[in-house]
Symmetry: C2
C-alpha cells in the first residue's frame, strides 16, 4: 500500500470512529507532514482520496471538513489485486446464473437480488394512455412498414435523444429491438462466429457471459476497478496478444460495479479500438440513471469510424416489460437489421407505436428527473442501512447513478453460500461469482437499491447483517 | 407414371378442353375399362385423383360429374421426381432470402410475394381495445411475474384452445414467445449444438433454413409432395442413416406447398420419431386457417412422450405485428424457458396482457370463421386469375387453407429471373430456390392470396402471365 493510501485509511478511521466528527475541520497540511513524517504531496493525495470516498469536503480558502453523513460511510473498497491476462476461454456460467435468477420471481423474497428497479417508479398509466392512443390510430400497414429497422417515427424520437447527448445519430443506423438484450446479442452475432475471441469486463454483466457461452465464443476478461473502471492497459495488451473480434463493455454505471468511465478514458478506449479496427458493443442501459448534473456521454460520442454499436433500452428508465430497445449500429446497421429480421421478424408494432407516442408527448425528461431523484434517495437509504446493520468490514464504492451496490465482503465470506442462506431467510442477494467467467468474486455480492425504502428491505438488511456476522 | 395417373391426366384434359363440360356425367366405369384396357381399380383411382384435383364430384348412387369451375382448374402438379437422400450439408441461403424479403416493404409492388395476409383482415380495433384495457389494468408486478414462461392468464387461454383440439395441454409446458419464429429458434437451440444434423422439409420454409445456417447446423432434406406431404419412407431412411438430432416440420398447410399431413401420417410420424427418440419441432402457424370443417390436429395430439414441441402464433390468425407466439414444449419446457430468459428476457408484458384479454372476451372463433371465409374466397379468385391470365402449363395443387399457392411453372422458366423481372414490373413473387437448401425448385414460385381481391392484384396476375409467356 502506498503511503498516501495508508494515511487516508488512518484518517478515515478517525472519522468513522467519531474522533473527527461531522463538520470538524481536518488538521492542516503542515501539521500532518510533521505528525506522520510524510511530504506535502502525500498529504494532498490522501485528502483527494478521502474526498473521493465522500468522507471530507473542501471549502474554498478554508481547508477540508468532515462531510455530512461521513460517519455512515463504509471503508473504501481496497484496490483489486492485479489480474494476470487470462487466456481466452470458453464460458460455462449459465446454469449458475439460472439458479440465481429463478429466485427473483418469489414474491416473499426481498428484492435485493433483483435486476430491475421497482415497477412502481415508472409512469405506467401515462404509458398505457400512449399505447392505447397509438394502437387505436395504428395504420394497418405499419405491420409491414415498421418491420426492421423499425418504426420511423420512433427512430426519429430516439435520434432526438442522441442529439441531446451531442451526437448526430443517423436515423438509418438505428435498429429497434426487443429490449437491449436482443440488441447486444444481435451485435455479437453480427461481428463474430463460433470460436472467436471477445473481450469482456471482469466483473461482467452475467447475461454477456451467457450470450458468449451460447454463441460458442471465447472470452478474455479485462479487469474493471470499481473506482475508475476498465483497465485500458490490460485491454491494450489483450488486443496485441489475442485475435479479439469484438469488445462488449458497459461504459456508464457498469453492472455490477456502478463505475462510469471518464470522458478521457472513453476517448482513449475508442481510439485504441479504432487502431486495432475492433468493434465495440457498448451496453449503455443505465446511462440515463446518472446522479450527476449531465448525462455521461457514451463512447459512441467519440466514434468517427462507425465501429461503436451503442445499445440501449427503455426497460430500466421508462417502460419495464415493454421490451423496447435499440442499437445505433454504425457500419454494422444493415447486417444487424437482417439478423433481426431473421431471428425475431420484428419488434412488436403496437409497442413501437406506443413508445413513439410517449417519447413525443409523455414528458420523458420530467419522468427521468423524478426517477433519478428517487434512486438517489434510495441509494442514501441503502447506505444508511449498510452502516446500521452490516459489519464494518463490508466495503463499496458509492455509485453515481443506477440502482446497484457492489459489496465487497470479508475475505472469508462465501457469497454463493450467503445467497443460498439468504433465500432461506427471505433475502435474495446476487452472488459475485455469476459476474465472472471464472466464478471469481467469491466474497462479493450485488444488491439492488431500486425499490422504495420499506420495512421489508430494512428487515432484509438487518437479516443480511446477522447472516454475515454468523458466518464470521 | 402409373396407369391410373395417366388415365386421370387424359380425362383431366377432356374436361379442361371443354369436351366434357361442367355438369356432364363422366363415362361409366365399365365403359372406361373397355375403352382404355384397364382394370376397375385403375378407373376408381383415376376418379379419386380427379376428385382430389377438384375436377369432378360424386353424386350419391348416380356416378361422377364434372365439377363447377372445373374448366378453370390448372393441370395437376406432376409427381415430384424421386429425391435421393442427400448427405447432411451446411446451408448457405440467407443472402438469397434477404434479397427477396427486402422487396416486400415496397408499397408500389403487388403483394404476391408477401409472407403475410392483408392486415385489413384482422380485428385491429377490437385488439386495440383489449390492449388498452389490459394495459390500464396492468399490475405493475406483472413485469416480474409475466417473465418466462409468461403470463399465466394468457397461458390458460392458450391451453383452452388446445382443449378445443382435443389436447390436454399442461399450462406449465406452455412458454410465451415473440411470435412463432422465436419459439422455433429456441426449440432448435434447446435440442442441438453446432454441427448437429436436423431433418427439414424440401421445399422448406426459408426461415428454417436461415435458422439452421445461423446456428451452424447441418440439414438433411426430406421431400414434401404437394398432395400428401412429407415422405415418411425417406425420413425413416434418414433416421437410420444419419445422427438426426431434431426434425423441423410443418404438419398443417405447409409453407410453401400448402399440404396438410393426414391424421394417419401424423400418427406414423410421431411413432417413427418416438422409436428413434428424436424430437419434433412442429411449426403449426397456419393450422387455424384451414378450410375444412374441423381444424386439422397437430402431430402433438398423438405425442405421448413429450417429444413434440408444438409452435404456433397469432401473427397469421389474429394479431399481425403483435409478435405473440408460444410453444407447447413437452419435456423440453424448462430448457426452453431458460433459453428464452437468457436471449430475450421476456415477451412484451402489455402485449401478453392485451392478447389474454382478447382471447377471453374478443370473439376469436367468430373472427377466425370470417377470416377463413375471406381467404377461401380469395383463393378462388386467385385460381380464376390463374386460369384467366397464366399459361396453361402452370400447375398447382389446390390448398385447403392458408394463403399460399405453390406454382409449378414450365420447365424452362427461371423463377429467380422471373422474381427480378417481376419487381421491375411492380410484382413480387417468391422464387422457389429460397425454399431449398440446395437452391432447387428453379421453376417454382409461391404466390400469396392473403389480400382482398383488387384491380392491382388482377393486373399483377395479368403481368405475370405476360412475363411467363415472354420467357417461353
Amino acid at each position: 500500500m502506498k503511503r498516501y493510501q495508508a494515511l487516508a485509511d488512518t484518517m478515515a478511521a478517525e472519522i468513522r470512529t467519531g474522533r473527527l466528527p461531522v463538520g470538524a475541520r481536518l488538521p492542516s497540511v503542515r501539521h500532518l507532514t510533521t505528525q506522520y513524517g510524510v511530504g506535502q504531496s502525500t498529504v494532498f493525495r490522501a485528502y483527494y482520496l478521502l474526498e473521493e470516498w465522500g468522507l471530507i469536503r473542501a471549502r474554498e480558502r478554508s481547508g477540508y471538513y468532515v462531510a455530512p453523513g461521513a460517519k455512515l460511510s463504509m471503508p473504501p473498497i481496497p484496490p483489486m489485486p492485479p489480474t494476470p491476462l487470462a487466456e481466452p476461454a470458453p464460458i460455462d456460467v449459465s446454469s449458475l446464473v439460472f439458479s440465481v435468477l429463478d429466485a427473483v420471481k418469489r414474491p416473499d423474497v426481498a428484492p435485493l437480488g433483483s435486476a430491475f428497479p421497482s415497477p412502481a417508479l415508472f409512469p405506467l398509466q401515462r404509458l398505457a394512455k400512449s399505447l392505447a392512443h397509438a394502437t387505436r390510430m395504428l395504420d394497418p400497414w405499419s405491420t409491414v412498414t415498421d418491420m426492421p429497422p423499425g418504426s420511423e417515427p420512433l427512430r426519429r424520437q430516439i435520434a432526438l435523444r442522441y442529439i441531446g447527448m451531442g451526437i448526430a445519430q443517423p436515423v438509418e443506423e438505428l435498429i429497434v429491438t426487443n429490449g437491449a438484450m436482443e440488441a447486444l446479442t444481435l451485435c455479437l452475432m453480427a461481428v463474430t462466429k463460433p470460436g472467436d475471441v471477445v473481450a469482456i469486463e471482469s466483473p461482467c454483466f452475467y447475461a454477456a457471459l451467457q450470450a458468449i457461452e451460447h454463441l460458442g465464443l471465447r472470452a478474455v476478461e479485462i479487469p474493471v476497478d470499481p473506482r475508475d473502471g476498465l483497465d485500458l492497459d490490460v485491454l491494450a495488451e489483450a488486443l496485441d496478444k489475442h485475435p479479439v473480434r469484438a469488445c462488449w463493455f458497459m461504459t456508464n454505471l457498469q453492472n455490477p460495479t456502478g463505475v462510469t468511465l471518464s470522458v478521457e478514458k472513453k476517448r482513449a478506449l475508442v481510439a485504441l479500438l479504432a487502431k486495432h479496427d475492433v468493434p465495440l458493443i457498448e451496453d449503455d442501459v443505465y446511462g440515463e440513471l446518472h446522479f450527476a448534473r449531465e448525462r455521461p456521454p457514451p463512447a459512441k460520442a467519440f466514434d468517427t469510424q462507425g465501429l461503436v454499436m451503442h445499445c440501449a433500452s427503455l426497460s430500466k428508465t421508462l417502460a419495464p416489460g415493454y421490451r423496447l430497445g435499440w442499437v445505433a449500429a454504425g457500419r454494422f446497421a444493415d447486417a444487424i437489421r437482417r439478423l433481426k429480421l431473421m431471428t425475431s421478424i420484428s419488434t412488436s408494432i403496437p409497442i413501437q407505436a406506443g413508445i413513439a407516442d410517449y417519447l413525443e408527448h409523455g414528458g420523458f425528461d420530467k419522468h427521468l428527473r423524478k426517477l433519478r431523484g428517487a434512486l438517489l434517495a434510495q441509494r442514501d437509504a441503502m447506505e444508511h442501512a449498510i452502516a446500521r446493520w452490516l459489519p464494518p468490514d463490508v466495503a463499496f464504492v458509492r455509485p453515481d447513478g443506477g440502482y446497484f451496490l457492489w459489496l465487497q465482503l470479508a475475505d472469508h465470506v462465501d457469497a454463493m453460500q450467503l445467497h443460498r442462506r439468504g433465500l432461506e431467510h427471505g433475502i435474495n442477494v446476487t452472488p459475485g461469482p455469476i459476474f465472472s467467467a471464472r466464478h471469481a468474486y467469491g466474497n462479493y455480492v450485488r444488491i439492488n437499491f431500486g425499490h422504495p425504502w420499506s420495512p421489508q428491505i430494512e428487515h432484509a438488511m438487518k437479516t443480511l447483517g446477522e447472516l454475515l456476522r454468523a458466518s464470521a
